[in-house]
Amino acid sequence: MSDNKKWFSIDLGLNKKKETSGSCGCGKTSGGCNSHKEELSADEFYEAAIDASIGEERHKDGFEQVFDVKMDRRQAFKKLTASLLIGAGAVSTSCSVTTGKDTKEKAQIDWEEQFKGNYKLMTDDEKQKTIDRLMRSYELRTGKNIAMTAENAEENVLFGYAFNISQCQGYMNCVSACVEENNQDRDSEMQYIRIHEMKDGEGLKFEEADDNYYHEVPAEGHFYLGTQCFHCDNPPCVDVCPVQATWKEEDGLVVVDYDWCVGCRYCMAACPYDGRRFNWSKPEVPENEVNKNQHYLGNRMRKKGVVEKCTFCVQRTRKGENPACVEACPTGARIFGNLLDPDSTIRWVLANKKVFRLKEDLGTEPKFWYFMD
C-alpha cells in the first residue's frame, strides 16, 4: 500500500480509481503485471499466505474484493477473528447484488473504522479521514449532517479551571448545559458535573453532602461545590489504561478515544475524584437535541461500553470559546483560561485568591482549583 495507513482497506468497488498494490489494471491478482516486479516477493508471500489460509475460496465472486488487502496469514486470522461481525457484514453486502450503494458504503466505512489506529498515533491527514468517515456514517444512518473537527492542542496553551465556592448558588445550569453540549445519554441521565450541597462550617464532607438535591437554592446554611474531571497533570486514570485509549494532550486535556476504549473501567477505579462515567447502555439522544458541533475527542456520539468524561468541552475550547458550564453559569462562579498566559484571569485567581484543590496530597496535580471570595 502506498500510503501508510494504520487500518486495512477493503474496496467494495466504490473507489474504482484507487488501486491497491496487490492488483493491477488487467484485473488479475497474480503475475502478469510488469510494473509491480519489485514487489513480487511480497506479493508471492501474500499469495501463498492467502492460498494456505482460504485457498480456492478467494476466487469466488466478491470475496477477493473484501480481502484485497496485503497481510500475512497470522495477521489475517487475527483481524478476521477480531472483526467477525463486521467482516461478515461486509462480505454479505459486497457479495449481494441487491444491496444499495449506501449499504456498501456503510460497510466500507465500518470496516475502515474498525481497523483504524489509535487516534493518538494518527497523522493530521488520518485524523481528517476518520472524522470524514464518521460524519459520512452519521449522514448515511440518520440523513442529517454533523460538523466534526479534530483540532490539535494549540501551542502555549494549558487549560485550567477555577471554581468559586462562595459564588455557586446550586442552580445547576452548568449541569444541564453540559448534558446538552456533550450529547450525554438521556436514558441513564448521565451527568459529568456534580454539585455537592455542603453544610457551612463543617469543612468538605463529601460523604455527608447531597449531590442530588431538589429544593429551592441556595438552601440556608449551605454552600455548593461542583466536581467534574479535573484534568490532572499527573492523571492516574491514564497510567492504568491497558490499551492507551486515554491520555493527556499537550494543552492539558485528559481525553478518551472512544473507538479505542475497551470498557475495562480501570480508569474509573483509578480516578480519585469520580470524574469518569461509563455507558452501560447505548447512549440515546433525541435527534433534535443532538449537538452537531462535535470534536473527535469530545462530544461525538459514544457507543455502549465505553468510558467518557468531561473534556473541558474540547470542541469549544480549542476554538477559543469557554466550556459550556462556564458559559451557562449565572453567577460567574466558574473561571476558565490559559494557565500559561500570565495575563489570563485564571492566573490572577491563582496568584491573588486563596486556592485549594481536592486531595492534593495524592500528587495527581489537578488543574482545577477552588477558591472563595
Partner: protein
C-alpha cells in the same frame, strides 16, 4: 589559590545541578512549576475577536487591568432619560403626567444608606453621580458600585468575580456589574435547580448506590 579552587567547585556544582534539573521536558515537580517554567503571554492563533464581533463593547482601564465591558446606554430602553426628565425630579413629582418607574422597588442597602439620588444625578438625569456628586457616565456604572463594594471590585478587575462575555482567549471582555445584578435589587434570587437526576434518586432509594 584556595579561593579559586572553591570557585571552580561552586561552578561545577551549579552546572551539575542545572544539568540534572533540566532532564526531560516534562520533568516538573508540580503543575505550578510547569506553569512557571513554560509561561508566555499568549499571542497564538485563537482569539475571542470573532466571538465578540457584533457586540457593543467599550474598553476600560482600571489600575493595571485593561479590558472590554459591554456598552450600557444602548441597552437601557428608556435612555435618554431627559426625554421625560426635562425638569428636576422635585418639580415632576405629584404633577399630572404619566407615572413611570412604578416597577422599580429599591432593595439595595437600607433606606437610610441609599436612595435614588445616591446613584442618579438629580440635576442631570442622563448621568449618574458619585458619592461626592461628580457626574458619571452610565457606561461606567461600575465606578459607582466600587465605592462600597471594593472587595468585589478588586476581584472583578482581576477576573475572579463575574462572567466573561465570550471565550477564554484574548482579548478579555468581562460583563460589568449591572449585566448580572439589577442595581435596584442586586441580590441573586432563590430558585429551583434546573436539573434533577431521577435515575440517581431511584438508585439511592433502592440502595444500589451508597
Amino acid at each position: 589559590m584556595k579561593n579559586r579552587t572553591s570557585t571552580y567547585y561552586v561552578i561545577l556544582l551549579l552546572v551539575v545541578t542545572l544539568v540534572s534539573c533540566k532532564g526531560g521536558e516534562e520533568e516538573y515537580h508540580s503543575v505550578t512549576d510547569k506553569i512557571e517554567a513554560k509561561q508566555t503571554p499568549y499571542h497564538g492563533a485563537l482569539s475571542s475577536e470573532e466571538l465578540l464581533a457584533g457586540k457593543d463593547l467599550i474598553s476600560i482601564t482600571e489600575g493595571e487591568h485593561t479590558f472590554l465591558i459591554p456598552e450600557r446606554k444602548g441597552q437601557i430602553t428608556s435612555y435618554a432619560c431627559i426625554e421625560c426628565h426635562s425638569k428636576p425630579v422635585s418639580q415632576m413629582k405629584g404633577s399630572d403626567i404619566q407615572k413611570a418607574h412604578w416597577d422599580i422597588k429599591l432593595n439595595h442597602a437600607s433606606s437610610e444608606t441609599m436612595d435614588c439620588a445616591t446613584c442618579h444625578n438629580p440635576k442631570d438625569m442622563n448621568q449618574l453621580n458619585t458619592l461626592t456628586g461628580a457626574d458619571l457616565d452610565f457606561n461606567l456604572s461600575h465606578k459607582l458600585c466600587m465605592q462600597c463594594h471594593s472587595g468585589q471590585f478588586e476581584d472583578w478587575k482581576g477576573g475572579a468575580h463575574g462572567k466573561k462575555v465570550a471565550g477564554w482567549a484574548p482579548p478579555r471582555a468581562s460583563m460589568t456589574c449591572v449585566n448580572c445584578h439589577n442595581p435596584h435589587d442586586p441580590g441573586l434570587e432563590k430558585r429551583w435547580p434546573v436539573q434533577f437526576n431521577t435515575k440517581t434518586e431511584i438508585e439511592r432509594q433502592e440502595g444500589l448506590d451508597d
